[in-house]
Symmetry: C3
Subunit: 312 residues, 3 copies
């Protein structure tokens, strides 16, 4: 998330009650996770295991739970509880805004776009021209929909990331990491009925131009899908996975988080994709492998009784 | 889709800018896909591979991209782009009608039928008597619901087919084949919460009398389900598949498109059904096979280490 | 279901037209299924196979289709069709109440709880304080939501059980066993978008404190989920299954009905859990087994060609 305007480091330090180390005149442009961070961004870290990764990342500003060495061009905000500091910043710069009507007055909707009765359009949503938003669709705050997009009934765009801060020494183990990212659907995207597309935690979930999804497809937070992809019904893609252009995924297949599927790959129905896959090939099974190899395996399994017989 | 009334071939030719060959006095009664076509219907074909199938089908009228031989009792409409001609006809005879309220004034709703708040009933929908339509259900234009039907919350009846015209030499590969078919639910059908049932592309998706579905079941376009079937949660059935009467499908099973499941078949949970199955038997696994065979296979797999040991 | 107040056995006998045997002064406190029954409850039985189980259960009152021996401290209601008698009682003491608006006037909603536009809150629903109910959520009659609960868009709480009385000698095989149970979500529960949680048939479906679910999770009737569990997207849990505390279930896994998953178990993505699992271990595959064993099996399968070669 980028702030509406750059914020002085001293304002952030005051907001979160931090001890500030480094250049007191610097300006913070946004907040991000370590995987998505850019110059000017703020990240947070609360475990020594990740200190080094944060400090050597592109992040200019680091919320951290103890003072440690850091390069001259960065600032450190030292606080007891970095995760709580993160939540304070999100709540301050992207506060939850209750909606009071079906279509927010702060939404911008393009020409010739049809919003059906019972659809919900949240605050600051931008929808392009020539779109069809069917009944009972939910498009939540800050999401961006391109031109010529069709979203079918029951689908939810911009639900919160399934992303928690976990501490097993407290009564409630999982504490919601509030999402301040968005969903961005490019032109000519079509989403079937009953789908859910989560917003990014701090960044965007993106669906590329011309990609089409069937019903009940689940897309996790921070997933990036390329152009001209085709996803059949009941496919699920976990958080932060990258699907390159022209990928076809057949029904009920499931993809692990933070993996990459190469351009033009085809994933057969019900496959379970555990790790990244090279483009231009066909995959099937659990764990998903080259489809030909997997089909041969199924034939080999049928030969076990014959092997047994030969052996005895 | 049948037209509201038969249309002279000359009107169709003018609408789509076609060169007309054959009987100029004939009347067209509807438009259909090659698999569902009846006498009086119009089909379209844009690849020489399918010319013969179209010309020898029951279709009386063929939209085609070049002149070819055809029998005396048919008419040919020659156009550059048959798919575009198809879209023109659908948009003319079944135009998209934006709804302006939750329950369309053109919907017909039977006695003692309860439509909950937040349900959406589209244009020209017909609902029988003694039905319960729960909150946040969406029933889209032209669908037909019988008597004593229950549809639970979040379910979508009549979403568009996932069906595209594909050309990889253009910027947007997949172009929506607009659906003009319907969903027809017969008497005593019950649909769980969060289900999606797509309309037929040009024909109907049909659910037979007394069939019950649990939550999050996905039914693709042009699927025909028989009587007294039982589908557990998260089952998915791809387009144009036929399920005969009294079939039971357990949770999370997935069925391929355009296959047939025989009467009384039982498909175990999480099965992946790739091809047609004979009735009266129990199936499991991927690809789904006779359950007993599959269970034995699982036992054989566990014996491989023993085989290995024996061998060495 | 407990009745609003205890009901004389004679009133019940009159309502269902039963021949009453036993203490005519007894009072009935509720109706329940045989698995959940408590002292003071009424159950029904329509097959001699289950007579003994009913009569020796904690149920004080039994609706039965023929007179049989019974202990002194119980009552028998003899009727021709016990299932129809059950339906009569449910319809009398928990009648279907049509809602006339999005948020029922009989719902009780706590302080600082936000109900978004297009959400539906049914009759007699109780929602605690500091909750967020997102747009297009459906919470049906009598459900109970704790404090600090978040329910994301498109989710349905309290859909009817998928539970039928089956008789294959009638035209409509499956007759709905009307649900009179509830869904109870404890404090700090978070439910993702597009989930469905069915109410209990006569008892409650319960989600324990601090449990978090991702999108499109299906929870069947009478399921009991413990504290601090984590369910990833597209998980499905069939009826009356018990999930103890701190269980983690990854995406697209499916669980059978009436089984128990022990505390702290971890179930890998796409697993199919057929029978009960001990706590504190990791499971995968179909049928779900110890993950290490299953992984080794996958390796063994890859060795079959080598075995074949050795053998020849």
């Amino acid at each position: 998330m980028k702030f509406p305007a750059a914020v002085p480091v001293t304002s952030i330090a005051t907001l979160i009650g931090a001890e500030l180390h480094g250049n007191k005149d610097a300006m913070v442009t946004g907040i991000n996770e370590i995987h998505k961070v850019e110059k000017g961004d703020l990240v947070f870290v609360d475990h020594p295991k990740y200190y080094n990764k944060c400090i050597t990342s592109d992040a200019s500003f680091i919320i951290i739970d103890q003072l440690t060495d850091f390069p001259e061009n960065k600032c450190l905000f030292v606080v007891d509880q970095p995760f709580e500091a993160y939540l304070k910043i999100v709540r301050n710069y992207r506060p939850f805004e209750p909606s009071t009507q079906n279509i927010s007055l702060s939404a911008a909707i393009g020409a010739d776009t049809y919003i059906a009765p019972n659809a919900f359009i949240g605050n600051h949503v931008i929808i392009g021209s020539n779109c069809i938003i069917h009944p009972n669709v939910t498009i939540l705050d800050h999401c961006i929909i391109g031109n010529n997009v069709i979203i079918q009934s029951g689908t939810v765009i911009g639900s919160d990331a399934f992303y928690y801060n976990t501490k097993k020494n407290r009564d409630v183990w999982y504490k919601k990491m509030e999402s301040c990212g968005r969903v961005v659907l490019h032109d000519f995207v079509e989403i079937g009925a009953g789908c859910t597309i989560d917003r990014g935690v701090t960044h965007d979930t993106v669906i590329g131009q011309g990609t089409k999804m069937d019903n009940m497809v689940h897309i996790g937070h921070d997933v990036h899908v390329g152009k001209n992809c085709l996803f059949a019904a009941q496919v699920g893609i976990a958080g932060a996975t990258v699907i390159e252009d022209e990928v076809v995924i057949w029904g009920q297949a499931g993809l692990n988080k933070t993996i990459t599927i190469g351009k033009g790959a085809v994933i057969m129905a019900q496959s379970g994709v555990v790790s990244s896959l090279e483009g231009g090939k066909v995959y099937m099974g659990y764990p998903a492998e080259d489809a030909m190899t997997k089909r041969r395996e199924l034939v080999w399994i049928k030969r076990i009784p014959e092997i047994w017989k030969k052996l005895n």
